[in-house]
């Protein structure tokens, strides 16, 4: 199996798009729709591909050598749409929720459109990102409470 090619250096525009795509990929459909209710309607879209589900092999690295191994397969749904304003939106999400993939792709197309980017960023992406960060922090705090520090082993090795 070929090694993963290094990611190309991303420019600010790509980095911003990567950020909102990752927020959309993690958000559930109900949360996205709840935030969309206050936002202006999304532009009409034609579906170019999908939504279609498939499997992606996840690879991990562990052990002394750090060599990759196949962790397991994950179901992924993808969708590509083209908005009436001419922007192509992509979405890859975990699971098989086709409606969610379509919604995320439509939002990706709309967010590239300068005329509605700021509104959507403020009303949809920012609150979703905040909620996701809060959930991550809460989980990290729970995990930190049971953290074990292996002082003894470290001392034995270095002495």
């Amino acid at each position: 199996m070929a090694a993963t090619p290094p990611l190309p250096p991303s420019d600010p525009a790509t980095a911003a798009r990567q950020r909102w795509m990752s927020v959309l990929a993690r958000a559930d459909a109900a949360a996205i729709e709840a935030h969309l209710a206050d936002a202006p309607p999304l532009p009409a879209c034609t579906v170019l591909r999908g939504p279609e589900s498939g499997l992606v092999m996840l690879r991990g690295r562990a052990g002394g050598g750090g060599g990759p191994f196949n962790l397991g397969e994950m179901s992924v749904t993808r969708c590509t749409v083209r908005s009436a304003t001419g922007f192509v939106g992509h979405a890859y999400i975990q699971g098989r929720d086709t409606a969610r993939a379509r919604l995320a792709a439509r939002l990706d197309a709309a967010l590239q459109d300068p005329s509605c980017h700021d509104t959507l960023e403020r009303q949809v992406i920012a609150p979703l990102a905040e909620a996701q960060q809060a959930a991550r922090d809460a989980q990290a705090a729970r995990a930190a409470a049971t953290r074990v520090q292996f002082f003894t082993m470290a001392t034995m090795r270095t002495s």
């Binding site: 579906v47 170019l48 591909r49 590509t80 192509v88």
Partner: protein, 191 residues
């Protein structure tokens, strides 16, 4: 990347139907079959050409897109999930609108004749125009095949390809929503 148009609306059913049409076309050389109805491919691809490529090509295929079809490269790359193969001589599939020198394509070898190229050639029309006589496996008696847009010396050029059998290039002809196939086992004479 310029992908303004969708591919198959129903990929499973439509690619299976196109595959069936291809099987029928190859097993009965020269017969006309319908493919790509309802598809909306970018210029310069016809519906049948686009349907054949969407059906046959995936990430493991080596598809060479000739310069006369280059306008559809982005669409093919996106919907087939493949990267265009630059070298025509080693390509597994060649998409073009003009008959290339068949000897310049991969013709396989005697141990692996299946490693040869499949030429997907878009012509002006099938079923009308100059006629040729076909004979060989799949045809109980010699059949007539006509197409518009093939070169005048097609029979002579095909003879050199047919002489290589079991090596040689297979030809899929597409026009509009019609396709026909001429496998390497077929001999073609001026009709």
């Amino acid at each position: 990347m310029n992908i303004d148009l969708p591919g198959f609306a129903d990929p499973v059913t439509q690619s299976q139907a196109t595959f069936r049409a291809l099987l029928d076309a190859i097993s009965r050389p020269g017969t006309l079959h319908e493919a790509g109805v309802g598809l909306d491919p970018p210029a310069p691809l016809d519906r049948a050409t686009a349907a054949v490529l969407l059906t046959l090509i995936d990430g493991d295929s080596r598809l060479h897109i000739a310069p006369d079809c280059a306008a559809a490269t982005d669409w093919l790359v996106f919907h087939c999930g493949t990267a265009p193969h630059g070298d025509m001589a080693t390509a597994g599939f060649v998409a073009t609108r003009a008959l290339p020198d068949l000897a310049a394509l991969a013709t396989g070898n005697d141990e692996a004749p299946e490693s040869s190229a499949t030429l997907v050639l878009q012509v002006a029309a099938l079923g009308t125009g100059p006629a040729w006589r076909l004979a060989g496996p799949g045809l109980k008696e010699a059949a007539t095949f006509s197409a518009t847009g093939l070169p005048e010396d097609f029979a002579a050029r095909w003879a050199a390809n047919h002489a290589l059998f079991p090596r040689g290039v297979d030809l899929v002809l597409c026009a509009g929503t019609t396709l026909a196939a001429l496998p390497r086992s077929i001999s073609i004479t001026e009709g």
